[in-house]
C-alpha cells in the first residue's frame, strides 16, 4: 500500500471544502477557482483509479484500513470493486461539470456554495468507498447536510419544504439502517465474539436466522428503497428535484439516488442472502410498478424538471429490477444503468437548468417553439432525451436491456410487464418535448439565446460518454462483471437459490472465489480483533 489513493479521493474534496470555507467571503472568484481545482483534482484521481483498476478481479482493490471508532470496532476501511468503481468515477466527473454549470446560476454566497458542494462530493465518495457499515452510514447520513443547505440556500421558491422533506424522509430510512446495522454487528458479536462492522466479515458470517434476517433486510431496505427511490417511497424526489439548484439536481439524479441501488447490491445481498432471495419478488413487484407508474405519472407533469424526476423513478425501477433478478446479467445491467443514468439524466437536468436560466420558468405550458429559437440546445436535448428513452447506441439501452433480460431469466412475468415501460418512456419524454420545443416561438421563448461554449462544455461530454459506453460498453462491463458474478455466487453458496444462467462457466470459478473470500473475511475479522486489542 504505497499511496492511499482512495483516502485521497475522499480527502481532496474535504480539504477543498475546508480551504474554501476559510476564504474571505468577498472573493467569490477565488472560491470558484479553488472549487474547480479541487473537483478537477478529485476527478483526476478517479481517472487514475479507473486506469489502474484490475479488470476481472472480483476482490476489493486499493484497500485502505485504519481503526476509527474503537468502542464499536468501527474501522475506516476503504476499498473499491467493479460496482463502486464506476460510481466513484462518475461522481468524480460529474462534480466539475456541476460546478461549471453553476457558473452563471450561482451569484450570491458563492463561497458557501462551493464549500457545501465539495463536502457533498466527499460524502458521496465516502459512501461508495467505505466497506465498514458504520463508516458507510456516517457518510450516508452526512450527505444529507450539504444537500440540505444547497437546496435551502440556492433552491427555488418552495425550497424549505423540499429540503426538509429530503432530510427527514431519507433520514427515516437511514435511522432504520443504523438500527439494523448495530443489531447485525452485535448479533455477530454475540455469536462469534468479535465486534466488527466490516461488511466482508459480516457477510462471511452465517449465523442469522430466518425472521431476524428478514427484519434486518427490511431495515436496510427502508434506507435503500427510500433513497433509490422505489415506489411508493418516491414522492420526495420530484419535490426535491424541482427545488434544488441545477447542480444539485444533477448530482441527486446522477449519484445520490444510485446509492439505494448500490446499497442493495453491496450490502443487502451479501449480508442477507436468504432474505434477498426470499423477498426478491416483493422488490421486483415494486420495481415493475415503479417503472410503469413513474413513466405514466411523468407524462402527466407540467413542470419539465418533474418530468425528468419521475422518469428517474422509472429508471431506478429498471435498476432495482435488474438487481433483484439475482442474475449476473441483471446485476450487470443494473450497475450499468447506474453508470449511464447520471450521464443522460444529468445532461437533461443541465439542459433544463439552462432553459430555466433563460426563461425563469420550468412550466412546459410557458415554453413552446424552443426548437426555433435555440436549435443547439434543442439538438442536445433530443440527444439526451433519446439516450434517456433507451435508444440503442446510447448507454441507457444496454443497462435497460440487460436488466430486463436478467429479470426475464429470473421470472418472465416481471420482465414482460416491465418491458411495456419502454412504450411509456417514449410517451413521457416525447410528449413534453413536443409541447416545450415544437410549435411556434413567441415572446420570451423567441428571445432566448442559444448555448454558450461553457454550457456546451458542460453537457456535451456527458452525452459523448453515454454514446461511447453505449457503443463500446465492454470496458465497463468487464469491470462490473466479476463483482456481479460474485454477488450471484454468494447466493448460490449460502442459499439454495440457483441462478437460471446455467450456461455460465462461472461454476468452475466457484471454488476459487470462495477461497479468496474466506481468506479475505478471515483477514478482516482478524484485523478487527486486532483493532479491539490494540486500544
Amino acid at each position: 500500500m504505497d499511496f492511499p489513493l482512495l483516502l485521497a479521493i475522499i480527502a481532496t474534496p474535504a480539504l477543498g471544502a475546508v480551504v474554501v470555507a476559510l476564504l474571505p467571503a468577498d472573493r467569490p472568484e477565488i472560491a470558484k477557482a479553488l472549487g474547480y481545482v479541487f473537483t478537477a483534482a478529485t476527478a483526476g484521481l478517479c481517472l487514475y483509479l479507473l486506469w489502474h483498476f484490475q479488470a476481472g478481479d472480483a476482490r476489493f482493490q486499493f484497500v485502505y484500513d485504519k481503526p476509527w471508532i474503537p468502542g464499536l470496532g468501527v474501522r475506516f476501511t476503504l476499498g473499491v470493486d467493479g460496482i463502486s468503481l464506476f460510481m466513484v468515477v462518475v461522481t468524480g466527473l460529474l462534480f466539475p461539470l456541476g460546478l461549471l454549470a453553476s457558473e452563471k446560476y450561482i451569484t450570491h454566497r458563492v463561497k458557501a456554495y462551493v464549500a457545501w458542494f465539495l463536502l457533498l462530493e466527499m460524502a458521496i465518495m465516502g459512501i461508495f468507498l467505505t466497506l465498514d457499515l458504520i463508516a458507510f452510514f456516517i457518510f450516508w447520513e452526512l450527505l444529507l447536510v450539504p444537500m440540505f443547505f444547497l437546496i435551502l440556500g440556492w433552491g427555488s421558491e418552495n425550497r424549505r419544504y423540499a429540503a426538509m422533506k429530503f432530510f427527514i424522509y431519507t433520514g427515516v430510512g437511514s435511522a432504520l439502517l443504523l438500527a439494523s446495522t448495530l443489531v447485525l454487528g452485535f448479533l455477530h458479536q454475540a455469536d462469534t465474539g468479535v465486534l466488527t462492522f466490516d461488511y466482508r466479515a459480516l457477510a462471511e458470517w452465517n449465523g442469522l436466522t430466518g425472521t431476524a434476517e428478514v427484519l434486518l433486510f427490511l431495515g436496510f431496505m427502508a434506507a435503500f428503497a427510500i433513497k433509490a427511490p422505489l415506489f411508493p417511497f418516491h414522492t420526495w424526489l420530484p419535490d426535491v428535484h424541482t427545488e434544488a439548484p441545477t447542480a444539485g439536481s444533477v448530482v441527486l439524479a446522477g449519484v445520490i439516488i444510485k446509492m439505494g441501488a448500490y446499497g442493495f447490491v453491496r450490502f443487502s445481498f451479501e449480508l442477507f442472502p436468504q432474505a434477498s432471495v426470499d423477498l426478491a419478488p416483493l422488490l421486483l413487484v415494486l420495481a415493475v410498478i415503479g417503472i410503469l407508474y413513474g413513466a405514466i405519472v411523468a407524462a402527466m407533469q407540467t413542470d419539465l424538471k418533474r418530468v425528468i424526476a419521475y422518469s428517474s423513478v422509472a429508471h431506478m425501477g429498471f435498476v432495482i429490477l435488474g438487481i433483484f433478478s439475482l442474475t449476473v446479467i441483471g446485476i450487470d445491467g443494473a450497475v450499468f444503468t447506474m453508470v449511464s443514468h447520471p450521464l443522460t439524466t444529468g445532461a437533461l437536468f443541465l439542459l433544463v437548468g439552462m432553459i430555466y436560466e433563460r426563461l425563469h420558468t420550468r412550466e412546459i405550458g410557458e415554453m413552446g417553439g424552443m426548437w426555433n429559437s435555440v436549435p443547439v440546445l434543442t439538438g442536445l436535448f433530443i440527444v439526451a432525451m433519446f439516450a434517456g428513452i433507451g435508444l440503442p447506441g446510447f448507454s441507457g439501452f444496454i443497462g435497460e436491456f440487460l436488466s430486463l433480460a436478467g429479470a426475464f431469466l429470473y421470472d418472465r412475468p416481471y420482465a414482460i410487464v416491465a418491458t411495456f415501460g419502454v412504450i411509456f418512456a417514449a410517451v413521457y419524454m416525447l410528449w413534453p418535448f413536443k409541447r416545450a420545443f415544437a410549435g411556434k416561438a413567441s415572446g420570451a421563448v423567441a428571445a432566448m439565446k442559444d448555448l454558450s461554449v461553457r454550457e456546451l462544455v458542460v453537457v456535451v461530454p456527458l452525452l459523448l460518454a453515454s454514446l461511447f459506453i453505449g457503443i463500446y460498453p465492454k470496458p465497463v462491463l468487464d469491470r462490473i462483471e466479476p463483482a456481479s458474478e460474485r454477488a450471484v455466487l454468494n447466493f448460490e453458496r449460502k442459499t439454495d437459490y440457483r441462478s437460471p444462467e446455467d450456461s455460465l462457466d462461472r461454476r468452475k470459478t466457484l471454488r476459487e472465489v470462495e477461497r479468496a473470500e474466506k481468506a479475505e473475511a478471515k483477514r478482516a475479522a482478524g484485523e478487527a480483533a486486532h483493532g479491539e486489542g490494540e486500544k
Binding site: 474503537p70 468502542g71 440540505f148 435551502l152 426538509m164 432530510f167 435511522a175 448495530l182 443489531v183
Partner: protein, 505 residues
C-alpha cells in the same frame, strides 16, 4: 460516667477524595468573604471572576490527580464510605468542572452586559458545582440527597438571578417549587428504601439485597420507584420534564448553559450509581421503568420541540430528548451502556454549552429576552461565523455524522442493540426514529438562520441587533466547544477510551 461505654471512632478522612470539592467550596466561600471585605468596590466582580477561575482550575488539577490515583490504586473511599472516588466519579467530575468553567467564562461578560454584576453569582455557581461533585462521589442515599440540595438551591437562585426580568424570577420560582416537591418525593423514596434495607449506603443496600431474599418487596420497590421519580426530575425525563422548558427559557442564558451541561452530568451520576450499585438484583424491575422514561423522553422531547417558537425553549426540549438517549445507556445496564452514557454526557455538555453560548451572544435585543425564531431569522447571513456555529452545534445535537453528537448517539444505540432482546430492539427503533423526528426542529433552526426574508428591507430589520462583539472569554468557550465537538466527531478514539476507563465504580 461521662466516658462512653463504646468509644467513638472517627472515620478516616482521605483529603484527596474530597479535595476538588473543598477547592470549589473554599473558593465559593472565599468569594463571599471577598464581597464582605470589599463591599462595593469596583474590582469585586472581576476579582470574584478571577478567583472562581483559579478555583476551578485547581479543582480540575486535583481531579486529574485523582484520576491518576484511582486508576493506579483503585477507588478511594473516605468518610466511612460516604465518599467514593472512582474513575466514574472523576470522569463526571471533570465534565462538571469543565461545564462550570464554561459557565463562569460565559457569565462574566453577560453579567456586565446585563448590568447584573454581583460576585455572589460566581459563589453560587461554584457552590452548585461543588454539590455536583458531591453527587458524583456520593455513595450513600443521604449524601445523594444532600448533594442534590447543594446543587439545586444555588440553581434556584441563579435562575431567578435577573431580578429585573419577571421571566427569570418566574423560572426561579417554578424550578424551586417543583424542585422542593420532587426532592420530597425523592426523600420519601430514601425513607422507604431505608425501611426495606436498614441502610442508606449504596453498597450496603447492595450487600443486604444480595445476602437476603425479601419476602415483602413492596417497600423496597416503592422506594426505588420514588428515587427514580426524584432523579428523573433532575435529569428532566418525561413525565417529570415540564419544568425544563420554562426554566431554561427564563433563566439567564449562561445559567441555562450551565444547568443543561453540568446538572445533567451530576444527576445521571446519581442515577447510574444508584441503579447499578445499589439495585443490581432488581434490574428486571427498574429497567422497564427506565425503558419507558427513555422512550417517552426521546419522543416527547423531539415532538414537542417542533411547535416551539423560542430557540432557548427548543433547546430545552432538545435537552429532554437527550436525557432520553442517555437513559437508553442507563437502560442497557452493561458497561458499554455506562460508557455510552458517560460519553454522551461529555459530548452533550459541549454541544449544549456551545449552542447556548451562541444564543447568549446572539440574542437580538439588548436584554436576554428575545429568542423567538423571528428574531433570529437570517442571522447566519449577517453573522456567518456565529450563525454557522449555532448551526453546527444544533446539527451536532441532531446527531449528524462527523460531530460528537453522532458518536454519542452511535455508542448509545450500540449499547442498546447489544442487549439483544426484542424490547431492546423496540427501544432502539424508537430511539432512531425520535432522532429523525428531532431533525425537524433542528433543521428549522438551521433554516431560520440561513433564510433571508424575501426583501432586503425585511432582512435589515429581521436580525437587527447592534453587532455585539464576542468577548475573549466567550470566544474561548465557543472555540473550545466547537473544537471538541468536531474533534470527538472526527477522531473519537481518545475520548471513547477515556469514557471506557471511567465506567468502573
Amino acid at each position: 460516667m461521662i466516658a462512653a461505654a463504646v468509644p467513638i471512632e472517627t472515620p478516616s478522612v482521605d483529603l484527596w477524595a474530597i479535595a476538588p470539592i473543598m477547592a470549589l467550596v473554599a473558593t465559593g466561600v472565599g468569594i463571599v468573604l471577598l464581597r464582605a471585605l470589599l463591599r462595593r468596590h469596583a474590582a469585586v466582580t472581576p476579582a470574584a471572576f478571577g478567583l472562581s477561575i483559579v478555583g476551578l482550575l485547581v479543582a480540575a488539577g486535583l481531579l486529574v490527580r485523582q484520576w491518576n490515583l484511582v486508576r493506579d490504586d483503585g477507588p478511594l473511599t473516605s468518610f466511612a464510605g460516604l465518599v467514593r472516588v472512582d474513575p466514574f466519579a472523576v470522569f463526571l467530575g471533570i465534565v462538571v468542572v469543565a461545564a462550570t468553567l464554561a459557565g463562569v467564562l460565559l457569565s462574566y461578560s453577560y453579567l456586565r452586559r446585563e448590568g447584573l454584576e454581583a460576585p455572589e453569582y460566581f459563589a453560587l455557581i461554584l457552590l452548585s458545582a461543588s454539590g455536583m461533585l458531591m453527587m458524583t462521589t456520593a455513595n450513600d442515599l443521604i449524601v445523594v440527597f444532600m448533594a442534590l440540595e447543594v446543587l439545586s438551591i444555588p440553581l434556584y437562585v441563579l435562575a431567578a438571578f435577573d431580578r429585573r426580568r419577571l421571566r427569570s424570577q418566574e423560572a426561579g420560582l417554578k424550578y424551586f417549587v417543583l424542585g422542593a416537591f420532587s426532592s420530597a418525593v425523592f426523600l420519601y423514596g430514601i425513607a422507604l428504601t431505608y425501611g426495606a434495607t436498614g441502610t442508606t449506603s449504596l453498597t450496603g443496600i447492595a450487600t443486604f439485597l444480595s445476602q437476603n431474599t425479601l419476602f415483602e418487596q413492596g417497600t423496597l420497590l416503592m422506594g426505588l420507584a420514588l428515587l427514580l421519580v426524584g432523579l428523573g426530575f433532575k435529569v428532566a425525563a418525561v413525565p417529570f420534564h415540564m419544568w425544563t422548558p420554562d426554566v431554561y427559557q427564563g433563566a439567564p442564558t449562561p445559567v441555562t448553559a450551565f444547568m443543561a451541561a453540568a446538572t445533567k452530568a451530576a444527576a445521571f451520576a446519581a442515577i447510574l450509581r444508584i441503579v447499578t450499585t445499589a439495585f443490581p438484583q432488581y434490574r428486571d424491575d427498574w429497567r422497564p421503568i427506565i425503558w419507558v422514561l427513555a422512550a417517552l423522553s426521546m419522543l416527547v422531547g423531539a415532538i414537542a420541540a417542533m411547535a416551539q417558537n423560542d430557540i432557548k425553549r427548543t433547546l430545552a426540549y432538545s435537552s429532554i430528548a437527550h436525557a432520553g438517549y442517555i437513559l437508553m445507556g442507563v437502560y442497557a445496564t452493561t458497561s458499554r451502556g455506562r460508557e455510552a452514557a458517560l460519553l454522551y454526557l461529555l459530548v452533550y455538555a459541549f454541544m449544549a454549552i456551545g449552542a447556548f453560548a451562541v444564543v447568549m451572544i446572539a440574542a437580538p435585543s439588548p436584554d436576554d429576552a428575545k429568542h423567538s425564531y423571528d428574531d433570529y431569522r437570517g442571522m447566519a447571513l449577517k453573522r456567518p461565523i456565529l450563525g454557522g456555529l449555532l448551526i453546527f452545534f444544533v446539527l451536532a445535537q441532531a446527531g449528524v455524522p462527523l460531530t460528537s453528537g453522532f458518536i454519542g448517539k452511535l455508542e448509545i444505540f450500540g449499547s442498546v442493540a447489544q442487549a439483544g432482546e426484542t424490547r431492546d430492539y423496540i427501544l432502539l427503533v424508537i430511539g432512531v426514529v425520535s432522532a429523525v423526528i428531532a431533525f425537524a426542529f433542528y433543521l428549522r433552526i438551521a433554516y431560520t438562520l440561513v433564510t433571508a426574508p424575501d426583501d432586503e428591507a425585511a432582512l435589515e430589520s429581521a436580525y437587527s441587533t447592534t453587532p455585539r462583539r464576542v468577548d475573549g472569554w466567550t470566544g474561548l468557550v465557543l472555540f473550545a466547544a466547537a473544537a471538541l465537538t468536531l474533534v470527538i466527531g472526527l477522531v473519537p478514539g481518545t475520548f471513547i477510551h477515556f469514557a471506557r476507563d471511567a465506567v468502573f465504580f
